[in-house]
């Protein structure tokens, strides 16, 4: 191969690498947008639920019949003499548990957009996503356990969501390890001319 041809052969490789990076950055933007929408919906849903519980608590003078109907339809109507503090704690715990993976997902997107995908920062973000998903499982279960003491209709169950979250957490840890290994390989490759 002539030197000129060799130089030419290097160019498409560089262009491909650049295209790959751009593609990953686009996906990173998608992840960030998805996380933002999720955060918005989670906080919105939480506020709605908090408002409904507040209405049925009798603290306000507003008519609580519609709130009661809505909560009953969702099987979330608390017992007549429910402990507001316990329910608030459960709600807060549920919000924190739900928000943790969303925040980590957004930070992962940010790291993927800012740096190369084979980077220790990205690996750390994946690890944190795994931790957050586990925290979501444990925190969410604890919140449901507490809420169940105040909401007679509430049924505790370990459904497909539990398994899905556990699988996602395991995958996040595996991907983190793969990124770490890839980073080591990329580092070694950089030492080759």
């Amino acid at each position: 191969m002539s030197p000129a041809a060799h130089t030419e052969s290097l160019r498409p490789a560089a262009e491909q690498a650049s295209a790959r990076t751009t593609h990953i950055q686009q996906r990173a933007n998608d992840i960030m947008s998805f996380a933002s929408v999720l955060a918005f919906c989670t906080v919105g849903g939480w506020l709605l639920l908090a408002l409904l519980f507040w209405q049925v608590s009798g603290v306000t003078r507003m008519d609580s019949s519609s709130a009661q109907q809505l909560l009953e339809r969702w099987h979330l109507l608390p017992k007549a003499s429910f402990d507001g503090a316990v329910l608030s704690a459960a709600l807060l715990l549920a919000l924190v548990a739900a928000m943790a993976p969303i925040v980590c997902l957004r930070r992962l997107g940010k790291a993927l957009r800012a740096t190369s995908p084979l980077n220790l920062v990205v690996a750390r973000r994946f690890s944190w996503l795994g931790h957050a998903l586990l925290a979501n499982l444990i925190g969410g279960f604890a919140a449901r356990l507490v809420a169940a003491t105040q909401i007679p209709q509430y049924q505790l169950s370990l459904g497909i969501g539990f398994l899905g979250t556990l699988t996602a957490a395991t995958l996040a840890y595996v991907v983190a390890e793969m990124v770490r290994e890839g980073t080591r390989a990329a580092e070694e490759n950089r030492a080759f001319v």
Binding site: M1, H6, T7, S9, L10, A191, F192, V193
Partner: protein
């Protein structure tokens, strides 16, 4: 390092500048400088092929093994 890079010698023989070789081979001057100093872990066959083509030489003209140069090897 028991492998000595003799790229400088070859460049002097061919009366060629590092800058021109780097441009012809398609690597950066910084990487070529590291290669000349032997501060790289390895050389890709593609790069070696391009250097040999440009300098019209054999890999053996560029690399030399010196036994016992590194203490950690028998």
């Amino acid at each position: 390092m028991p492998i000595i890079i003799e790229l400088d010698v070859m460049l002097a023989r061919r009366k060629m500048k590092s800058k021109d070789l780097a441009a012809a081979v398609g690597i950066t001057e910084a990487n070529l400088s590291l290669l000349k100093q032997g501060k790289v872990k390895g050389v890709r066959f593609d790069t070696l092929d391009a250097i040999c083509t440009v300098l019209d030489c054999q890999p053996g003209d560029l690399l030399r093994h010196v036994a016992g140069e590194r203490g950690d090897r028998p």
